[in-house]
Structures are given as structure tokens and as C-alpha cells.
Amino acid sequence: MKNDTLVSFEGVVKRFGDFVAVKRMDFEIGKGEFLAIMGSSGCGKTTTLRMLAGLEAPSEGVIRLSGKPINDLPTWSRDTPMVWQSLALFPFLNVVENVEFALKMRAVGKAERRRRAEQWLDRMQISEFAGRNISQLSGGQRQRVALARSLVVEPEILLLDEPLSALDAALKVRMQSVLKNLQRETGITFVYVTHSQSEAFSMADRVVIMSRGQIEQIGTPQEIYRTPRTRFVADFLGSSNVFTGTVTASDGGGVMLDTPAGPLRLTSGERLAAAPGRSATLTVLDTRTNLALTAPGGPVNAIPVRMIGEEFIGATATIYLETGTGQEIRVQKSHEELAGIPLEIGQELFAWWAHADGHLVTEE
């Protein structure tokens, strides 16, 4: 893995005046990886990307590209092309001239750069628009021009800052597959900033979750989804039920938590090093949470709940429930799995899950 590192951030901090936009970043990006950076608005995603592109200088720390520190390289001496949210296509150049731009800057001959630009237009399926003005293109077509313009130099890495946010939902999904295929075929490392969980989780090999200028978790979409490492990540993804309480017992077999919803036990996981007396948070995926009329036996946690609402999307139902202390719990199941359970508002039920399905997250 170490030899395959393309980019590394080592203790990178970015301050604007007194304001700390990026607190401390230590992470690596592998060669050929599709890395998504996610987080709420203003958490420093764009700033991180801009530091990598050389458009912003880190206040502290070192950024390395292929092992070499690039802190002092201006953006025009790095090969880190970026795709802007606004695309930043040159309105005074037509489509093919836009794509040729980077080649012209590298003093590639006229005929050669026209040939390579046309190749990329062809690849992005926009050859027919080569002679058009940018203003005469649709949003999706512009997107493709912006990608071609950055990729025509066949860089090692491509930076994308919310490139799809201006497109409508259907086009977004289409462009996602275009991007993913492109990345797979070219083997170029993509660093992709987005707000959208579905974009990040469907395309990325690894996802970085940021909050207030810090990395909360890095991992594959599966890892992050199943085992959110912090309460922030669990809340941010919104796919888990979260219980906070005090550790009452911790042994080789598992951890006991005393929570407002009742005593809960968990046996899974890698990090069971919670000392008794400390506060801890347990998460369980809403798809792993079940419903029953009577509390089931065996190695499970069961909480008495009352149903407060339901929502159907396609074949999946989301049932909203409330514990005696007013905490909301969600259960996501297919219709078949819910067969035989009376689903009426106010119905008293038990929400339960296996001890092994719970996860302990670190406390902030």
C-alpha cells in the first residue's frame, strides 16, 4: 500500500486569518483510487481540494505528490487539474479550443493537439459540438467538456469539486456512471468532493467524512456505513439508530451499556476497550433493527417502543418508533419482513437487534 501512495497530507492546517478552516489533516490517497470527500457545508472540503491543487497554500504541514513535497509549487507547475463546480469553461473559446487549452500551454503542436482534443471529445461523446460556443451547450454537455479539458493531458490525478451539483437528478445518475467508468478505464486517481451521500457511496473506493475542518472517518463505503466510527458520522449518514449511555460492564464477551432506553449489550466489533463508568455510544443500522410483538429471547437487545409513523419508498418501508423516553428509532425493512406485524400508529411493539449487530463508537 505504501508504494502505491500518490498523495499524502501530513499535519496539514489551513487558517484564513484567525479562522481555522482545516484543523489537522493526515491521510493518504492511493494511486488509481477514487476518493470521495464528504461533509456538511463549510467543513473545509473545497479548501482541502484547493490546497492539493495549489490554489491555496497550507498554513502548516506538508502535502506530498508522488513522495515529493509540493507546498511551494504554484498550481501551474503541478499536474493537478481540477473540475470546478461552476466548470469555469472559457466562454471566449469554443468547445474544441477549450479542450486544447492545456495542450497549448504545454507547447504541443497545432495538429497534434487538435487530434488529441478530438479524441477526447469523441470519448466523451460530444464530437458533434466541437465547433460550438460554450453558451450553446446543455448542462450535461458542458460537464463533459470540462472533464475532457482536464483529462486531455492525461494527468495522474483529477480533482473534482461538486461537479454534478448543478444537474438534475436523472442526469446526475447518468454522469455518475460516466465518471466511474472513466476512472476505471483510465486508472486516474479521482478526488471527488461532494455533499451527496449517494454519489460518494456509489462511486468511491474510499470515503473521507469531514466535520469542522477535521477528518471524522476514512474508509470504504461499506466500513463507514456499517461501522461509523464517531457519533457525528452516524448522525451524518442517518442510517443508524444511536444510543448513548454509560458502560456498566466490559469483559471479553462484550460491553454492557446503561442507556435511557434501557440496558443494552453488544458483542461485536474490534474496539471493545470501553472501561466501566465511561460514557459510550452504540449504533445499530436501521436495516438491522427488527420489530416484534413480543420481546424475543436469545442474544438480542429488545426495547419497548410505540409506532409513530411510516414511509414507503418502493419495496422498502421505514417505520418510525418512539421509546418510553421519547427517543426516535427507525426500522427499515421490506414488506415481506414486516408481514404479520400490525402497523398502526400507536401500536406497542418491541424493537430488537442481535448483540452482534451493535457497534461502539468513540465519544467526542
Partner: protein, 281 residues
């Protein structure tokens, strides 16, 4: 698509229409009519005679003045555009928001004083016993004949147009999308190259309009060629005054004035065409 004329529409366009008629169309029509009048015994009389057009267009002195004026105005407009650009660029991209407001204010100050006064003060600098020659004298040089030269006229033209051209260029530069500049840098376009590859093309309309304004002002200017250039070479504006002074030849002056207006219309049209070329296909 033509919209039908409505009373509502007229209430808004009427003042503008009256304004245009009063200050542009009427004088122009009168000027055209005047150019066909004749002068007998130092007295003008309404007529319809092409003699003025034939006389003026038949004189080599007119064509010489025409060529000189055209060349000098074109040169001045190119020169002022080139000199003003670094200034406008620095104000637009290198100054803080606050400093930029001050710079704009400083660029407006020259308009507070009369152009004539500013030209007279150049005489104090440029004349044989002027400040520049005195200072050169201290190191044993000169005096040089700085006044009454084409160079002095150019200095006058710059005085007239420089602040305006800087302001016009500035307003087109500040509206350039900064991400375009970053994108160019990001695609390996260095700082200086970005000026020519991105900033100038982006600001093209504003830059051409600024140069056009400079051309228009210089082409019609009378003050600098006479008070700094000493009336030599003769420009069209000087030719007009000479013509009116010699024997009440107002109709001939009208011919020259109309030729100037026609020239400016053609130049303005060509400049606007050039500015917007390739923008909308």
C-alpha cells in the same frame, strides 16, 4: 418581433426621443443643410449647391489633415490603451477592496478640473523655459523644443483620455470571473500568459470600447493640437476653425464636420463589430 405602438410605451420612450431629436438629429439635419448653402460677399445664403463638398474634397490640405488626424487619434488610442492596461490591471487584481475604491476616486479627480487648465499646465512643464528644460539645464542639457511638437500633442491626448480609459478598462476587468483565471493557472497557464490568454479575451468588449472612446475624444480634440502641438500638423478640428475664420466659410466647415461624424460612425460601428465578433453565432 415588432411590438405595436402603445400610449404606455410612448410615455417612457418619448422623453428620450425628444432628447435625441433636440440634441442630435436637429443639429445634424441643420449641418447637412448648411453644407449646401453658399457664401457671397461674406454672407451666407440658403441654397442647394454642392460647391462646398467639391471644394473641400478637392483640396490636398484637407486630405492631409484627415490622414494626420486619423493617424494621430489611432496612435493615441492604441498608446493610451497599452499604458492604461497595467494600471487598470493592478487596480482590479492587486488592490484590496478598500484600496480599489480609493483608486477609482483618484481616477475621477482629473475630471474635476477643466481639460484646458490641465493642458495649460503642461505648457509650464514643456516650454523652452519650462520646468523640464530648467531641470535638464542643471545637468547641462537642453534646452529642447518640447512644446509645439507631435509628442506634446500626444501628451495632451493622454491627459484627456487616460483616466477615462483606465476606468472603462477597470470596469470590464473587475467583472471577470476569478475562477476562469484560477482554471487557466490550474491548466499550466502562467501569470503573464494568463493575461493574454484569458484576461484580455474576457475583457475584450470593455477594452475595445475604452479604445473607441479614446479615439473619438482625440479625433475631435482641438485643445491639444493647438496649445501643445502649436497647430502643426493641422488636424481637422484646427482646419474647421481656420475655415470659419477665413471669410465666413461656415458651409465648408460643415462639410469637414460631417466628414468627421461619418468617419466616427464607421469607426464606432467597426469597433463594436470587432468587440462582439464570435460572441454570438
Amino acid at each position: 418581433m415588432r411590438r405595436p405602438l402603445t400610449l404606455y410605451g410612448l410615455t417612457f420612450s418619448l422623453p428620450l426621443l425628444i432628447w435625441q431629436l433636440l440634441f442630435f438629429v436637429f443639429p445634424l439635419v441643420f449641418l447637412v443643410a448648411l453644407s449646401f448653402w453658399t457664401v457671397k460677399n461674406f454672407r451666407m445664403q440658403p441654397d442647394f449647391d454642392t460647391v462646398n463638398w467639391v471644394t473641400i474634397y478637392g483640396r490636398s490640405v484637407f486630405w492631409q489633415a484627415y490622414g494626420t488626424t486619423l493617424a494621430m487619434a489611432a496612435f493615441a488610442s492604441a498608446l493610451v490603451s497599452i499604458l492604461a492596461f497595467p494600471c487598470a490591471y493592478a487596480i482590479a487584481f492587486k488592490l484590496s477592496d478598500n484600496a480599489r475604491r480609493w483608486a477609482v476616486f483618484l481616477m475621477v479627480i482629473p475630471f474635476f478640473t477643466s481639460y484646458l487648465v490641465r493642458v495649460y499646465s503642461w505648457q509650464i512643464f514643456l516650454s523652452d523655459a519650462g520646468i523640464i528644460n530648467v531641470m535638464l539645464g542643471w545637468i547641462g542639457l537642453g534646452p529642447y523644443g518640447l512644446l509645439n511638437t507631435v509628442g506634446a500633442t500626444m501628451i495632451g491626448y493622454l491627459t484627456l483620455t487616460f483616466p477615462l480609459v483606465v476606468l472603462l478598462q477597470l470596469f470590464s476587468l473587475v467583472f471577470i470571473d476569478r475562477t476562469l483565471i484560477e482554471a487557466a493557472h490550474n491548466l499550466r497557464c502562467g501569470r503573464l500568459r494568463t493575461v493574454f490568454e484569458v484576461i484580455v479575451p474576457s475583457a475584450r468588449v470593455g477594452l475595445v470600447i475604452a479604445a473607441l472612446f479614446a479615439f473619438i475624444l482625440c479625433f475631435g480634440d482641438f485643445v491639444s493640437p493647438i496649445y501643445l502641438g502649436g497647430g502643426d500638423p493641422t488636424t481637422l478640428s484646427i482646419l474647421i476653425t481656420d475655415t470659419t475664420k477665413s471669410g465666413q466659410q461656415w458651409p465648408r466647415a460643415a462639410v469637414i464636420a460631417l466628414t468627421m461624424i461619418g468617419t466616427l460612425l464607421v469607426v464606432a460601428f467597426a469597433a463594436v463589430r470587432f468587440a462582439y465578433k464570435g460572441r454570438t453565432k
